[in-house]
């Protein structure tokens, strides 16, 4: 890289990371005035406060429950939908179905949020006295996660040699067994990617949850209410923990991939 490129790259990353580092530094701020701009010594008090906060812990629990359920359901739904979409022969029908699938992803989140809210309120009222909460949140999350699973499974199905499924049948598998023995292992990477995406999207979602949660708190919703109070360094502590957790996960995933790759190469090196 030329010097100019290096400087440019550095500046953009400075822009991207400066706010995050500020957050992290101030999460260790030992200040009674709860100032957001003066650093007056190192302390872990905000972390302690964070873990004592029942509301945050409840919100975290809700968030995780919703993410696990929504990701699991969306993965199954999305995979089945992708297989169906892939099987459509008619070009026009397929294109139309793809557009219908993509629409929720290009649609502004706020529109998805309010329309789901209206739907849930309508259904809840016509069922009599139900209110929005965990169930509506989970349903909403399944709704916006499913297209992402479809989108990550579909390319794997397209890449797959269509004859694999036939080859398995040719060698004696009935269609169901052929699917589980051959097709499923082939598209597994896409399914896993889709599931991870669904999980992280669900954990991270604020806008759609905001409209469909009723009085139930998820972590992003709670964070939002904290930012409204303007001054609350607990958020800094929470941000730091989340950031470190994500960083940790990413590093592990990357290390594992690198290790698998090396192991693979070594194995092949030995045999040839």
């Amino acid at each position: 890289m030329k010097v100019a490129s290096k400087v440019y790259t550095f500046l953009v990353f400075l822009f991207l990371y400066a706010p995050i580092f500020v957050l992290i530094i101030f999460s260790f701020n030992d200040s009674d005035t709860m100032s957001r701009s003066v650093f007056s010594g190192f302390s872990l008090r905000w972390y302690a406060r964070l873990f004592e906060d029942r509301m945050i812990m409840d919100a975290l629990k809700n968030t995780l429950i919703i993410a696990v359920v929504a990701a699991a359901v969306a993965t199954v739904l999305g995979t089945v939908a992708a297989i169906g979409l892939n099987g459509i022969r008619n070009k026009w029908v397929r294109r139309m179905m793809m557009n219908v699938t993509n629409l929720p992803m290009v649609n502004p989140e706020i529109v998805t949020g309010v329309s789901l809210m209206l739907l849930f309120v309508f259904v809840a009222q016509s069922l009599g006295g139900l209110s929005l909460g965990m169930l509506s949140l989970i349903l909403a999350h399944i709704t916006f996660c499913t297209p992402y699973v479809v989108l990550s499974v579909l390319p794997k199905l397209r890449q797959m040699d269509p004859h694999l499924y036939e080859a398995a049948q040719d060698l004696g598998c009935d269609p169901r067994r052929a699917f589980f023995k051959v097709v499923l292992p082939e598209i597994m990477p896409g399914i896993v990617t889709g599931m991870i995406m669904a999980f992280t999207l669900s954990i991270d979602d604020f806008i759609i949850s905001y409209f469909t949660s009723g009085t139930t708190q998820t972590l992003p919703i709670y964070i939002y209410s904290m930012t409204r109070k303007r001054v609350s360094p607990e958020i800094n502590a929470l941000s730091t923990l989340l950031f470190v957790a994500v960083l940790f996960l990413l590093v592990i995933v990357n290390l594992r991939q690198a290790r698998d790759k090396r192991a693979q190469e070594r194995k092949e090196g030995l045999e040839s």
Binding site: M1, L16, V22, L23, S37, M197
Partner: protein, 223 residues
């Protein structure tokens, strides 16, 4: 008013993202494989942090008594009023959505066959012409999907404007929010505005899609 401001601010933010993101995406796509994957991960990493927190971080930086102004004061410089301006809203949009611009651009540029560039040079094109005649047209799918992935959330946001724009820089999103969960409770009007917003954006995307082969969208989101 709300509509115009939303589209105007969203368009400015999208433009800045493209101008800032393109060189970076190009630089990343031309580095060695190892550095490349690290840089891509660094671009993605902030996206894994909740955008409320990222926006909150800017609040602490931009406030009248915030970190930047404190720093300016210690240097003996006059304070700047930054928070609650439309500039702060655009900054928040750029900050939050620029990875959505860089990643599709990067994947379009990285896919590009380097020999095409060499061929253009071989045929006598200078650096500027190589860029305008070869590199940029070939990266068009990335540009298109980057623009849509930034413009759509930027136009429809209501959090960034609320947190960084104060009460005076409200956008369509805020208007919708107010009709449902805010002071001006009126779901009918809210639904109407939502529908108009949706149609507006679908029209924009439709126009964009004329330049796109339709296969690349969302590719940048893949891990």
């Amino acid at each position: 008013m709300f509509f115009l401001r939303s589209i105007w601010l969203g368009a400015i933010a999208t433009g800045i993202c493209l101008l800032v993101g393109y060189p970076l995406a190009y630089i990343i796509s031309r580095t060695g494989a190892r550095v490349q994957s690290v840089l891509v991960m660094l671009v993605m990493l902030p996206m894994w942090m909740n955008f409320l927190l990222r926006t909150y971080a800017w609040m602490t930086l931009l406030e009248d008594n915030g970190i930047i102004n404190t720093a300016l004061a210690t240097l003996g410089l006059p304070k700047l009023h930054m928070i609650n301006t439309s500039g702060a809203v655009v900054l928040g949009m750029v900050y939050n959505y620029i990875p959505y611009m860089i990643l599709p651009l990067y994947s379009a540029l990285a896919k590009m066959d380097h020999s095409v560039i060499e061929a253009a040079q071989d045929l006598g094109a200078n650096q500027r012409r190589v860029f305008t005649k070869v590199i940029f047209p070939l990266s068009m799918p990335g540009v298109i999907s980057g623009i849509t992935m930034v413009f759509v959330p930027a136009v429809s946001t209501f959090i960034i404007s609320k947190m960084l724009g104060g009460g005076s820089n409200l956008l369509i999103g805020d208007l919708i929010d107010m009709q449902f969960l805010g002071s001006a409770y009126n779901p009918n009007l809210g639904s109407a505005i939502s529908l108009v917003l949706m149609v507006l954006i679908l029209i924009c995307m439709g126009i964009m899609n004329q330049f796109d082969d339709g296969e690349t969208r969302g590719g940048g989101l893949m891990i």
